[in-house]
């Protein structure tokens, strides 16, 4: 596993050097390597396909613009996640107020919760909706830590690099995120299960 990671790192650095010389093919290869991870991060953050696709494209555009600022020895994965994370936060801040104005954020109480006679597929659907809404209610940093940990399966150390904070702070933010989610979700758990 360690050997594969080193090999991948070596490949990435080679690709980066080629991209610095305006090699389109190298850029395409780099996109192939990281597109899914960036998409996963963005989609788990927004739960919206179009937003996630925008973030993927914007991330690689930003990467191309700032490629010369990347220094050998830095963790590229953390670097590109950092770019994507910043874009997610910017996008969220830009659109969050709009969604509120348009009434796009539905309260949990207003949601169509299942009746006792509902079948399992409906229950499952509503659990997703409830959890999705609960996730949106989290504070920005807690939400980002939770998403990076749960869906992108990064280590605390890696999240710390992406968010430029200490691993202890990551652990604390993750704890608070899970506790808050538990607080948000617990009133509804008995009704959907």
């Amino acid at each position: 596993m360690q050997g594969r990671t080193s090999e991948e790192k070596g490949d990435v650095f080679t690709l980066l050097e080629r991209i610095k010389n305006d090699d389109r093919e190298a850029f395409r290869e780099l996109v192939s390597l990281y597109q899914k991870r960036i998409f996963l991060l963005a989609f788990s953050f927004f739960h919206n396909r179009e937003d996630a696709m925008d973030i993927v494209q914007e991330t690689f555009m930003r990467l191309h613009q700032k490629i010369h600022t990347f220094r050998e020895g830095e963790n590229f994965k953390s670097w590109i996640f950092q770019v994507a994370k910043n874009l997610c936060i910017d996008h969220y801040r830009k659109n969050h107020s709009k969604r509120k104005e348009w009434g796009g954020e539905q309260n949990l109480e207003e949601m169509n919760l299942p009746s006792e006679n509902s079948d399992n597929s409906h229950q499952s659907l509503d659990l997703k909706m409830i959890f999705s809404r609960c996730l949106e209610k989290l504070a920005e940093r807690q939400r980002m830590v939770f998403v990076l940990k749960h869906y992108n399966q990064l280590k605390y150390r890696e999240i710390a690099e992406v968010l430029n904070i200490s691993p202890g702070t990551v652990k604390s933010l993750h704890f608070k995120a899970v506790q808050n989610l538990r607080g948000f979700i617990s009133p509804y758990l008995g009704r959907v299960q």
Binding site: R28, E29, S44, H150, R182, I185, L189
Partner: protein, 271 residues
């Protein structure tokens, strides 16, 4: 109980496998013994399961994306945009140089120069105004031009009469003193030509304003001047006498005085 409080803080990290080996083992052993902490971890697992419920959506959406073509699309967009930005930056660079604030006075001066140049060029090359145009530009009261021209004709005639009078008097005096040859040379060279040409000019004026009496006298003077112009150095006495007789017969000097007086009076009466 104190230990449970410490362990509770690590439960989330434990659930996600983030504790170091020994601590992970310790928490695991504690959970087997402590029902309170066990309930706590069960609740956290519910949250974990809730989060996992979104995995299906994520998988479905991930499957809907064409990962094969996306890299090429993104590459085209990024490199296409770069070319466009390069062009835009080139244009922006030039425009920044051309329209920098410190060049504004230069452009203002150029603009003023072009405006003045155009104005002078227009003044220099425009077609000259026709007489009609000029007249249309300046308006005079009716009859003003005629009055001015009449006054000028009168003055010219007076001037002609005065000079002719002097000339005749000069001739009359010098011819009687036998200095004809000297007089003739001066006379021929200076005054005759002047008076003859002046007569041609006032003829038109006299005709125009119907000054018949003045014209008749002026014609007699002109005849006399022609006679004087033909005089040679050796003038016979009888010829001089003839001219003297003509002057006396026609009473030219008297007529000139009377005409002068008349013209002056008519000037005063009009004023």
């Amino acid at each position: 109980m104190k230990e449970c409080k410490k362990i509770n803080k690590d439960l989330v990290a434990f659930l996600y496998g983030e504790l170091l080996g020994e601590r992970q083992q310790f928490v695991s052993s504690h959970l087997e013994e402590c029902s309170s902490c066990q309930r706590e971890i069960d609740k956290l697992k519910e949250v974990h399961a809730g989060a996992d419920s979104l995995n299906e959506d994520i998988k479905a959406v991930m499957a809907s994306v064409d990962w094969e073509t996306l890299p090429a699309q993104i590459t085209d967009t990024v490199f296409g945009k770069e070319v466009q930005e390069t062009k835009e930056s080139w244009v922006l660079g030039i425009s920044r140089i051309l329209f920098q604030p410190k060049l504004r006075p230069v452009y203002a001066a150029l603009l003023v120069g072009v405006f003045l140049g155009a104005l002078f060029t227009y003044i220099l090359i425009r077609p000259p105004l026709q007489r009609q145009d000029r007249e249309s530009l300046i308006s005079y009261p009716p009859g003003f031009i005629e009055k001015v021209e009449l006054e000028m004709a009168r003055r010219e005639t007076l001037d002609y009469l005065k000079k002719s009078q002097y000339l005749i008097l000069d001739f009359v005096q010098t011819s009687t003193e036998a200095e004809t040859s000297t007089w003739q040379r001066d006379f021929a060279s200076q005054k005759v030509k002047e008076l003859l040409s002046k007569k041609k000019y006032i003829n038109q004026q006299l005709d125009k304003f119907k000054m018949a009496k003045a014209k008749e006298i002026c014609n007699q003077i002109e005849f006399l001047i022609y006679e004087l112009a033909q005089l040679s150095d050796e003038i016979p006495a009888w010829r001089l006498q003839e001219i003297h007789d003509f002057i006396e017969e026609k009473q030219l000097l008297l007529k000139i005085k009377l005409l002068e007086k008349e013209l002056k009076q008519s000037e005063k009466s009009e004023v």
